[in-house]
């Protein structure tokens, strides 16, 4: 690949040189400036060759295996497809040097044929690539002439590249939707959807699939208790009051310092919050609960995870509230003050009601962020699927279970792994809906004051 790029550079130089000669030789100016001719030749040299390289990388392993199988040494291979592919894989590893020692004696015999086939096909690939490079470069070079519109051609390629880049976003979205849907459908083939959505027992076992152990209600319960209740009880008052103080009371200089300081809370990595919740807040809350005589207290508690998550979300709520309070027309505030209301009465009875849609949008975004948050709950909320209202007890969430199901030692095909995709699908749908609703509310609210 480096070779192709190097040759493309050479192509660029020669193309440009030829175009330079054109400019000096004649009186009339060529259509495009020399470097565009250079780019044109370089693109012709590099693109077909790189495309061929990618294609070759995809098909050559198959060709190599075919060549090895036609070798006389391969006739001794067992007929069973599984063992056969295991031996072949091992021989390939030995031949390319990624594996030091063979496990299966039959693979040793195949190393030499493999090595030979690999060498043969890789040299064929290199030769073909070089041929394509030179052919492309030569073709581009012959096109360089006085009236040739190199710039237009090059710009068309640039536009194609830009468009392809912007398709990446769509591809990612579709990739998420399809991979989640595909694996989830396979899961729902084993466990009925109704059983999954409304079952109340969550205890996935490895081994046989028992649909009644995949009831996700306890996970939804835990997610809502932590993300939508406890975290919001912390984040909404603190975030809203912070926004009010910063926009209405704080001196401009103080505001300039305080606002970024509070934003730091959102920039602290979640693993740090999780560690903090698990090590400092959790044990302190457990001791407090024990002192108060509350049973079932655990150092992995819904409360510690929820509080810390709420603190993490304060900046999100406060900046959304900040935006919507500042967007309320000044005349409304001035009118209220002129009627003799104190600033706090103005805020509570005029500004907040007027800004409410924006604040609500911010809260919905915050909820969607909270239920998708993973590390804090993994480290601080525990793993047991309880349906309890006791906030001092250990409780689990959707994201915790995704991590737990995925980091075990089971195969990718097992029901437990597929269950993680089903949970991911639910999480994706819920956060997506929350975001769409929130953005729509905020947008409509903004329009109403413009």
């Amino acid at each position: 690949m480096m070779l192709v790029l190097g040759l493309a550079l050479v192509a660029w130089l020669t193309g440009r040189a030829k175009a330079m000669r054109l400019t000096t030789d004649t009186d009339t100016r060529p259509h495009s400036r020399p470097q565009y001719h250079g780019w044109y030749v370089a693109l012709w040299a590099a693109l077909p060759a790189l495309g061929f390289l990618a294609l070759w990388a995809a098909i050559s392993p198959g060709l190599v295996t075919g060549a090895v199988l036609s070798d006389p040494a391969a006739s001794a291979l067992p007929a069973d497809a599984f063992i056969r592919s295991a031996i072949l894989g091992e021989a390939r590893g030995l031949a390319s040097g990624t594996i030091g020692q063979g496990f299966n004696p039959a693979s040793a015999a195949l190393v030499e044929p493999y090595r030979a086939a690999m060498a043969r096909f890789s040299s064929i690939g290199i030769i073909l690539t070089l041929l394509l490079t030179f052919a492309g470069g030569a073709f581009g070079y012959t096109k360089v002439s006085h009236h040739f519109r190199a710039r237009t051609r090059v710009e068309r390629v640039v536009m194609l590249v830009l468009m392809a880049a912007s398709l990446a976003a769509i591809l990612t979205t579709f990739g998420i939707v399809f991979s989640l849907l595909f694996e989830s459908l396979r899961f729902f083939g084993k466990v009925p959807l109704v059983e999954f959505l409304f079952g109340t027992t969550w205890a996935p076992q490895s081994g046989d699939v028992r649909p009644d152990t995949f009831g996700a209600i306890p996970l939804f319960w835990g997610t809502i208790v932590i993300g939508a209740v406890i975290a919001m009880i912390v984040a909404i008052p603190l975030g809203l009051m912070t926004a009010i103080y910063l926009t209405q009371y704080a001196h401009e200089r103080v505001r300039r310092w305080l606002k970024p300081t509070i934003e730091i809370l959102a920039g602290v990595p979640t693993v740090v919050y999780g560690y903090f919740a698990a090590l400092t807040i959790g044990p302190a809350l457990r001791d407090a609960a024990v002192a108060l005589g509350i049973g079932g207290a655990s150092s992995d508690s819904a409360l510690s995870a929820g509080i810390v998550m709420g603190i993490m979300i304060i900046p999100l709520v406060s900046s959304m509230a900040d935006d919507s309070i500042t967007a309320v027309p000044r005349a409304m505030r001035d009118g209220s003050l002129a009627l003799g209301a104190t600033p706090s009465e103005t805020i509570r009875q005029v500004l907040i009601p007027a800004a409410l849609p924006g604040v609500m949008g911010g809260v919905l975004l915050a909820v969607s962020r909270a239920i998708g948050e993973t590390m804090i709950v993994v480290m601080a909320a525990g793993q047991s699927a309880n349906m309890t209202g006791n906030v001092f007890a250990s409780i689990t969430t959707v994201t915790v279970q995704i991590v737990k199901l995925m980091t075990g030692d089971q195969e990718f095909e097992s029901a437990k792994t597929l269950a993680a995709f089903a949970l991911g699908l639910i999480l994706f749908i819920v956060t997506l809906l929350l975001n769409i609703v929130a953005l729509r509310i905020v947008k409509r609210y903004r329009e109403s004051y413009e």
């Binding site: 400092t280 962020r369 995925m406």
Partner: protein, 419 residues
């Protein structure tokens, strides 16, 4: 119109004054609530940082015990003129340097002395000998790193047995402490005194390199296309909607996608900086697109018009004029997006980066771990020595993040243009 005139308010009346006082009190209360909320938020931030700093700073220091070692008659000999450093190191190990150290510790501190020395003691002694080979012919006192239990006890959090040992050693003046270079140069290890962050830091750097290579060009190109060229049609709408949605998708979903796509479908190397970086690139790209679009939007149309007027093509306008002017803004957004990706753990858990990696990764396809993942792994360890390691790793992570953000802010302040 015939209604009677409203009763005139008695502004100076007692009832009115009392109401006013109530209202002013409510005003003051409200104001204090606001101040309290801000103070609470800032206070929590300070508490978090101070807490981490207090717990983590001791992770950068190492307790050392002065051990008299008698090399005479030990049979150790090296010849630096004829051996390379590596040969000398293995020769020393073969000739029984670790056993000699254990024996010396037992001789100096009694039978439990062999538990006092840490796993890194052999390496420190070896380096001391390589620095001064003449010590092999005499008795010397070497400061050797202490075992994890002693180290923790010396910092005030150990069990009773180790506390007693520390008190005894301290009374004899044998204890000292110094900067733990191994923490910054080592990789993960099963012994907390040996474990370091360099492996994770290098893993993070490689991962970020991959993320940058994928997310920055794709994000910038997308933003350029959407802002400058995209026709108003269905496809453009779909692109915009998916970018806005991707920016709000929980990070763990990207982990699921990467697992299904990169590892199971394409068969790329799991748990490596390559796959980790590509996963984080998917996450970072929307952030860069949004920042880049704002930066491009901020370039005034008069510049485009001027360039078009002197005959530039649309591609030339963007690549010669708009992009250079928007670049500081794009870079700022990119750095902030990268900082967020650097602190991200959840998607990497799913693609197999949750493994013990005892070496710094050498290439993009090696198994690796990243800083936040190292913090997560250490926080799960039972050994008390890992507590300070975890906090110290958090300090390293926060310092890296802070410097990235500082770069972004400086960049913005330096190059920001008001038109």
């Amino acid at each position: 119109m015939n209604s009677p005139a409203p009763p005139t308010s008695k502004w100076a009346g007692d009832a009115m004054q009392a109401r006013l006082r109530r209202r002013y009190a409510a005003e003051r209360r409200f104001r204090w609530f606001g101040f309290g909320a801000v103070a609470l938020s800032v206070g929590f931030l300070l508490f978090l940082l101070v807490n981490m700093a207090a717990a983590g700073l001791s992770g950068f220091s190492q307790t050392r015990i002065a051990v008299p070692v008698d090399f005479r008659g030990s049979g150790l000999s090296i010849n630096l003129d004829r051996m390379t450093r590596e040969q000398a190191q293995s020769t020393l190990a073969q000739q029984g340097l670790p056993d000699l150290l254990t024996l010396s510790a037992t001789a100096a501190f009694g039978p439990e002395g062999e538990h006092y020395l840490g796993a890194a003691a052999g390496a420190v002694a070896r380096d001391a000998i390589l620095g001064d080979p003449s010590m092999l012919s005499r008795q010397v006192i070497i400061d050797l790193p202490a075992a994890s239990a002693i180290d923790v006890a010396a910092k005030g959090a150990g069990d009773a047995v180790s506390e007693a040992a520390v008190a005894r050693l301290d009374a004899q003046g044998k204890l000292s402490s110094g900067f733990d270079t191994l923490f910054l140069s080592g990789a993960d290890a099963t012994d907390p005194t040996l474990a370091g962050v360099w492996g994770a830091l290098k893993g993070s750097l490689l991962t970020m390199l991959v993320t940058m290579l994928f997310a920055f060009p794709i994000g910038t190109f997308t933003a350029v296309y959407l802002e400058e060229y995209a026709p108003k049609n269905r496809l453009t709408d779909i692109i915009e909607v998916s970018i806005n949605n991707l920016a709000a998708v929980p990070s763990i979903i990207f982990g699921l996608l990467a697992l299904a796509l990169f590892i199971n479908m394409f068969g790329l190397c799991g748990g490596s900086p390559l796959v980790g970086g590509m996963t984080l690139a998917l996450m970072t790209m929307p952030v860069i697109v949004i920042a880049a679009r704002n930066a491009i939007k901020a370039v005034p149309p008069s510049i485009r018009d001027a360039a078009l007027a002197v005959g530039a093509s649309k591609v030339q306008v963007v690549f010669h004029h708009v992009l250079p002017l928007a670049l500081p803004g794009i870079l700022t957004g990119a750095i902030i997006g990268m900082a967020r990706a650097l602190g991200e753990t959840a998607p990497l858990l799913l693609i197999g980066m949750r493994a013990f990696v005892g070496d710094a990764p050498a290439g993009l396809c090696d198994r690796a771990t990243v800083l936040p993942m190292q913090i997560f792994l250490w926080s799960d360890e039972v050994d008390k020595g890992f507590v300070e390691n975890t906090s110290a790793a958090i300090i390293v992570l926060l310092i890296v993040l802070l410097s990235m953000n500082a770069i972004a802010i400086t960049l913005r302040n330096k190059f920001e243009q008001r038109w």
